[in-house]
């Protein structure tokens, strides 16, 4: 019985950890051994001020240094359009545009972005005046529960900018040629956004239409 329970937990954790995806970006100053031997001061929470420009509006916040950009948006600015899915960079629900580039808001600290320009789903359109990408999502039924949708839309906009800038992808046949929009390119480039409802085929259609091409 205990073994059975242990096995279940282990398998679940294994699956979670197996999916942890990141090509990473920390620059540890110390070797693992040295850091573990070094004294770790159990510091009290540290507050720090940061100024962010979000959807054109400047916000000055006093935050615990541990606050992720995602939590700053949701818990401190009540910009709850950006969703928390996995909180580990695996699902893409928290995708926002940082200085025009799509990133996972859960895997970066708010204090790291002093003076940065952020666009969230709230900055793209209004209920009466949808952004073309939002309108295409509605038209093509590119969602069911809607939880991944803000991340999908921000990611799609960032992705199209990358494609227009000529960035290749894993499925681009010719690395040196300018990539062209296709369903395969969209699927590959959007692989960092999961949709548990499985609206993938409609997502491809919506993004294709919003891109202004019937590739």
């Amino acid at each position: 019985m205990d073994d059975c329970l242990h096995l279940k937990i282990t398998r679940r954790r294994l699956l979670i950890a197996s999916a942890v995806s990141a090509s990473a970006a920390a620059l540890p100053s110390l070797s693992g051994a040295a850091s573990r031997d070094a004294p770790q001061t159990a510091a009290a929470p540290v507050q720090q001020r940061v100024r962010l420009r979000i959807n054109g509006e400047v916000h000055s916040l006093e935050l615990d240094t541990r606050t992720t950009l995602l939590d700053a948006l949701r818990e401190h600015l009540q910009l709850t359009g950006t969703k928390k899915g996995c909180d580990h960079g695996q699902c893409g629900a928290c995708t926002v545009l940082l200085d025009g580039r799509r990133i996972n808001a859960c895997l970066t600290l708010a204090v790291m972005h002093e003076g940065a320009e952020l666009t969230t789903i709230e900055g793209l359109g209004t209920p009466g005046r949808l952004h073309p990408m939002q309108a295409a999502f509605v038209k093509h039924d590119a969602f069911q529960c809607g939880y991944c949708t803000p991340g999908q839309i921000c990611s799609a906009l960032g992705m199209l900018d990358e494609l227009r800038a000529g960035q290749p992808s894993h499925v681009s046949a010719d690395l040196e040629a300018a990539p062209t929009l296709s369903a395969d390119e969209i699927r590959e480039r959007m692989s960092g956004n999961l949709c548990r409802c499985g609206a993938y085929s409609n997502l491809v259609e919506a993004i294709t239409e919003a891109a202004g091409s019937r590739a």
């Binding site: 282990t10 090509s23 070797s31 893409g92 895997l107 894993h170 690395l175």
Partner: protein, 316 residues
């Protein structure tokens, strides 16, 4: 997450000086791996030194015709660089096969080299792991190990290095340039950068305390056909079960590096001498020292077949 103090370093010199003054500090760049580990309290730095503003984000030609890649160049920018796409296609292909668009936009060149294993037992603080808690044991040896390493492993650890980029850099003879707190610099061949686990799997690389990677340098373009072939559980956004990087010259000579099978990017120059005899001969040489578990024994056959496919593509 444990509390920490945070600073933005103003220069590489200031960054290493601060690291020397703060035992237990970490540099943070993209943060896509470090922050994840901090949330799980596997990493618990008392101080973070943000190196994003150091100006180490340029890609420049070198005097000998190679390329100098700043430590802070994002993975997406490196893969999109025209010189990389033309002259170091292996590197562009490896980068594009890793992670997601969002992650590549943040992840950096140096951070990618320093990312830590995705062994599930390293992440699970309820279970033993010699890398996370030295001396506690290895849960992977008798556990779920189909993703684990088969080369360069020890009784203490069978975790695989997760990077695709590093596999290409190994095949390209990359050199890591660093700055130390005393102001001195040094160059480390990527071949010597990552450490095998032995009895100290917590020691993963050759950097000294406070030492900062400032750039990765590539020798002049090697020419030949470049193929990076990655086998994984789904078509995109997954770590390699096996990855093969090959560069094949018109005369049949070439280079081979493996990913997903070892605690570091795996390359044996002696195995490359077998290239004229075909994939099977190269694989046999590469895998002579392989130590498998019941669950990852399939990787030996997968290496041979993936290598055969990569070589066929490179020669087509």
């Amino acid at each position: 997450m444990k509390p920490f103090t945070y600073e933005r370093a103003g220069s590489p010199q200031a960054a290493v000086a601060s690291a020397a003054a703060h035992p237990g500090a970490r540099f943070i760049a993209g943060g896509t791996n470090l922050l994840d580990l901090m949330k799980l309290e596997i990493e618990t730095p008392a101080h973070l030194i943000d190196v994003n503003g150091l100006g180490l984000d340029q890609i420049e030609g070198t005097a000998d015709g190679g390329l100098r890649i700043g430590a802070l160049v994002r993975n997406s920018d490196l893969a999109a660089d025209a010189r990389v796409r033309r002259d170091y296609a292996l590197l562009a292909r490896a980068l594009l096969s890793g992670a997601s668009g969002q992650l590549r936009n943040r992840a950096t060149t140096a951070g990618n080299l320093l990312q830590r294993t995705r062994c599930p037992y390293f992440y699970d603080s309820d279970l033993p792991c010699n890398k996370r808690l030295p001396g506690s044991g290895c849960a992977a040896l008798g556990g779920y190990s189909r993703q684990h390493a088969i080369l360069g492993v020890s009784e203490a650890c069978i975790a695989a290095h997760p990077s695709d980029m590093a596999v290409a850099l190994r095949a390209l003879d990359a050199v890591v340039e660093t700055l130390r707190p005393d102001g001195s610099t040094r160059s480390l061949a990527l071949a010597d950068f990552h450490r095998l686990p032995g009895e100290t799997p917590q020691v993963e690389h050759a950097l000294e305390p406070g030492e900062l990677i400032v750039a990765v340098t590539l020798p002049p373009p090697p020419g030949g056909r470049h193929v990076y072939r990655k086998v994984r559980d789904r078509a995109s956004y997954a770590f390699a079960l096996v990855a093969v990087a090959v560069i094949v010259q018109p005369d049949g000579r070439g280079r081979v590096a493996l990913g997903g099978v070892a605690p570091k990017p795996w390359r044996l120059e002696a195995a490359e001498a077998e290239l004229p005899r075909g994939a099977s001969a190269v694989a046999t040489a590469l895998l002579a020292e392989a130590r498998t578990t019941r669950e990852n024994a399939y990787k030996t056959l997968l290496v041979e077949r993936t290598l055969a496919a990569a070589l066929a593509e490179a020669r087509s």
